[in-house]
Amino acid sequence: MNTFGMPVDDIMTKWLKGLEQSRERLLKSKDVLLGTLDTEIAKTPYDVVYEEDRIKLKHYRPTSEKQVNTPLLMVYALINRETMLDLQPGRSVVQNFLNMGIDVYMIDWGYPARKDRYLTIDDHVNGYLDNVVDFIRDRHSLPKINLMGICMGGTFAIIYSALHPEKIQNLITTVTPSNFETDQGLLHIWTKGLDLGRIIDAYGNMPGDLLNLCFLLLNPARLVIDKYIGFFENIDNKDFIENFVRMEKWIFDSPDVPGETIRQFVEDCYQKNLLIQSKMEVGGRLVELKNVTMPLINIYGKYDHLVPPGACNLLTSKVGSKDTEDLCLETGHIGIYVSSKFQRQFTPKIVQWLKDREGTPEPKIHENRPAAEAGQVSEPQPAQAVDLKSLPPLAMEPKLTEAVRRAEPVSENQTKQKAKTHKAVSGASPKKKKAPIETAA
């Protein structure tokens, strides 16, 4: 026995065995990588019903009988793309909503070009978003619609709801930063002292690649090394590779962010924390959270390293609504949307919450009514010829892919703890409550 604690022969045998396994894996990977891979994302069929400048409004084709009459508008962040909500069949938030009878609209913010550098938060919220909301209200002859925001899109949704409360029936915020004065997340720590204005001056818009680099630097051990070690370890596994590539497609599909928008977002939110104090100004108007009087459900991830709980959980105590609820899921920033396990909690919860607050009669859709003044309505476009009957049922696949797991760092403690959520309060007499319950792990 040598100083390694095992015979040299054993070491060499294991080493050679490992080499042989790697060789076999690489040989097999040829069939996988050179074969046909299904890595397409955002496959759920939709029609583009409204367009304005670079933005498009997607209306998803229903797959089941409507359970909630008021349509739901989903607003994604300007960072990365909304395709994350429809990453693949069987693990798609959009598809789950459709299967549960929700009428889903989603804004596609497109790819900002240099000409978009002067667009501000006001242009996005009081311009594009307001026009889209008006369009949907007009199309359905409804005074109000349901609004759901994701991450930065959630911040926009809060601002919008505070400025236009008369147009929003219910507000859903998911992994949405509203309180930026927290040291729980590295982004919050880093941005405090950074002068991003100079980068914006230099580039016009905030380059998507630069943002991605920053996100990779949040955890290089996992996101730059371990993730790709996992890739090579599973290079002969077709399902794994397909999921991995889908996730990579989404992660590195990063539009630039309009310069003036990100400048205001960083300065007013991250550096001055004005939003939660109701001191932020958008379009010359003060964003007062007390004006958010509609029912609000605020969902966030306990292990979110980008928008930590501390950045989310103050909102419900600051808004004017008396019908508020916090739901903390034991997952990270994107686990909520791409893990089937959490989708089984997340989407049914939202649907039930909306159903409980639904009271208006079913309106008629005016397909050919004109859009809001600033936009144009395009002819409905067939996104993809997909047989709706062939779509898989709701949240059919419980396995969280390795690619997804690796995209979000998991602490040692995290894996040991039981899943807990803050219980949702539903029903007719909702009040602010945060009662923890256990959920299926």
Binding site: K115, W190, L194, D201, A202, N219, A221, D226, E373, A374
Partner: protein, 294 residues
């Protein structure tokens, strides 16, 4: 335990690492000679050579072993200089510059971290003292504006390079610390006779150690300042580069970004005004319709 198998300070794998490095280095050299005779040297072979040279040079630092010659001498062994030249050479400083700074005695230190810091500090100091003043000499004459832009660009390129090197160096620190911690952990496991048989166990251990070191680094003021400097210098380099490029582009019959930005700004303002006007008209029309209906 067979002490003959150990390095000079009694660590178990020092001899093995040294002999392995020698073996693979000579194998790589033979391979390179063979391939050179057949065709051009490929990048992968070059990379292998560099990697092995670095491994061999830093092996005493990783294993804690040093030759008696190196211990007695105040200067690091020449292999270390070679490795540093390779590392810094790929990180922005030319190999010749590293050698020159070394010969001037500007680079000091006895660990990887110290040597890299020494090289970056030496280069930054040298640039600030010797080069920057030259680039900032007032320019005169017909070409003043152009020359100033060129000088400013050269200056910003150097400070940008320094910021990148500093940042990269910081990012390398957790990696080095993780190796050292892993060595300590493995020593303990070996003493306890609890070494795992599968490499994957050690990999899992290492990646967690590395992750923790990165998390610690990212929360430090030193990292925040380095990140801030990097972004500032990137922006400054980009802006001076754009200025210079715009200068040349103005000779060509194509619009520059500066000109296009002016057009974009005007378009943006006009569109916004139009939308606001449309909304007002729409509201007025709605009000009139309502009034007529009454």
């Amino acid at each position: 335990m067979d002490h003959n198998d150990q390095g000079t300070n009694g660590l178990p794998w020092s001899k093995w690492m040294e002999s392995s490095a020698n073996f693979w280095l000579s194998a790589a050299q033979s391979w390179q000679e063979l391939s050179t005779s057949l065709a051009d040297v490929s990048r992968s072979e070059e990379y292998m050579q560099v990697s092995l040279a670095i491994w061999k040079a830093f092996q005493p630092l990783w294993t804690g072993t040093q030759s008696s010659e190196a211990k007695e001498s105040s200067a690091p062994p020449f292999d270390l200089l070679q490795a540093l030249m390779r590392v810094m050479g790929s990180g922005g400083l030319s190999e010749e510059l590293v050698k020159w700074l070394w010969d001037k005695g500007e680079i000091t230190g006895r660990s990887i971290e110290e040597l890299q810091r020494g090289a970056v500090k030496a280069w930054t100091g040298f640039h600030e003292k010797e080069i920057q003043p030259l680039l900032r000499i007032p320019q005169v004459g017909l070409t003043r504006v152009h020359q100033e832009k060129i000088n400013r660009f050269a200056d910003k390129f150097n400070t940008y390079q320094a910021a990148i090197m500093e940042f990269r160096m910081l990012l390398a620190v957790p990696m080095e610390k993780s190796f050292i911690e892993m060595k300590e952990r493995l020593d303990k496991l070996r003493e306890q006779g609890a070494l795992a048989e599968e490499f994957k166990v050690y990999y899992g251990m290492w990646i967690k150690v590395l992750e923790n070191h990165y998390m610690s680094l990212f929360k430090t003021d030193e990292y925040r300042q380095a990140l801030s400097r990097l972004l500032d210098e990137t922006a400054a380099f980009k802006i001076t580069g754009n200025d210079l490029l715009t200068e040349f582009l103005e000779f060509l019959p194509i619009p520059t970004n500066r000109e296009m930005d002016e057009v974009y700004k005007e378009l943006y303002t006009l569109k916004k005004q139009t939308r606001q006007a449309n909304k007002k008209i729409s509201n007025l029309e709605a009000a009139l319709t309502k009034k007529d209906a009454q």
